[in-house]
Amino acid sequence: MDSFRQAVSILPERLRELALALDPGEMVGVEEIRLRAGRMPALTCPDGEVPMMGANPVTTQEIELLVQNASRWSLHTVLDQLRQGYMTTRGGHRLGLCGTAVMEGGQVRTIREITSANLRIAREKRGCASKIALHIKGKNSVANTLIIAPPGAGKTTLLRDLIRQLSDCRLRVAVADERGELSAMWQGAPQLDLGQSTDVLAGCPKAVAIEQLLRGMNPQVIAVDEITAGEDVRAIEQAVGCGVSLLATAHAREVEDLKRRPLYRELLSEGIFRYLVMIERRSGRREARVVPAEELGC
């Protein structure tokens, strides 16, 4: 509930009051708050998207104010994130944005006329990775593990708890936290607990971060969230070649989805990952299942 209150503190006053008027039981279940200009504000709950009752449509001014609040009236400090369509706010909550992209040299320079915002609430679920940690942890090492699930299924939450548990077992874990979602760095301090022996390099592209962590921090385990680029794969291969264990996540519903994408096909064919963790939703609850990569033909 505290995460919810912290996340909604950046909403414009009218929307914040609406959100805080929710029943405490409802607050716990809210995963996202979705705002679309001219539409009713909506909440994403485990059962899907529901409109906020008694609300008037969201205005573009309200979305603009939300963006200003989220950046602490300092858009220049979050432009790199904004170019990628999101920004991380205090507490590790992620604000995804849509509007009109301003292009420069074939790349997104910024987003103007923002018409949609998705505030995803970051929550710590301590202990959610206990079974997985038991499975993948050896005496002084960890088996390379890839967590796969569709967006919003809880990959980051699971990875965060896994990092914390391994780190508290005195393994040196280095985190390449490009989007700041794992550690939720805020003014130099992680807002979310990543364990006793964890070093975080936030805000840096994953490939560069992995290289720097390998050089400077002598990690036993490297953790990265959402492998999305060829450079990430090459950096991962380099890390594994150095004898470092790897924890990573990827967007996919099942292994077949991964195999269809050249980036992951390459990664899986090299047999880097020993275990795949799949998050599935069963009767409204999420369950993580550890499967040896061999069984899935990876």
Binding site: S9, Q68, N69, W73, H76, L79
Partner: protein, 166 residues
């Protein structure tokens, strides 16, 4: 004796009025000087350090010694409590003892700060700083002249009234 005392009091009052008017001009000059130097720091912090606005406002408030401290402090407080920076900036600028031209220059800055990339903001701050600098040069000249005039006027008027009373 009573008349003499009254005349002295009138003379002292007029001199004080003259000195106060001169001091007001000087304090307006000091405020402008501090605003110019604050904008110089603001420009540097935005472009070189990409400082976030709440921290920048606190930093400027801590080093300020004139009413500009209140301007920066109230903006920082407003942002920390989820309020609008633009509203806080506008209302705080309106409370400063500035001429209409100086206020207009500062108000335009509220529409830029925190809304654009660091380079764009730096350019806008620089532009407004240069505007304030030329206003400051004018105010300096006026202050020098008017401070003497007010002091002399107060002293002379006080002496004249005192003579009439005696």
């Amino acid at each position: 004796m009573l008349r003499l005392t009254g005349a002295v009091l009138v003379w002292v009052g007029c001199v004080a009025w003259g000195l106060r008017a001169a001091a007001e001009r000087r304090s307006q000059q000091r405020l402008l000087e501090e605003l110019v130097s604050s904008l110089e720091i603001m420009e540097r912090e935005l472009t070189l350090n990409q400082r976030a606005l709440p921290e920048l406002m606190r930093q400027l408030s801590a080093r300020a010694t004139t009413q500009s401290a209140q301007l920066f402090q109230s903006c920082a407080d407003s942002m920390e409590t989820g309020g609008s920076f633009v509203k806080a900036w506008d209302s705080s600028v309106a409370q400063l003892p500035l001429s209409r031209e100086d206020s207009a220059l500062l108000l335009s800055l509220g529409q830029v700060l925190g809304r654009y990339e660091d380079r764009g903001q730096g350019e806008a701050v620089s532009h407004i700083r240069r505007g304030l600098e030329s206003r400051l040069a004018l105010v300096r000249q006026q202050t020098l002249a008017s401070a003497r005039v007010y002091t002399a006027l107060g002293t002379a008027a006080g002496g004249f009234l005192a003579l009439i009373l005696i």
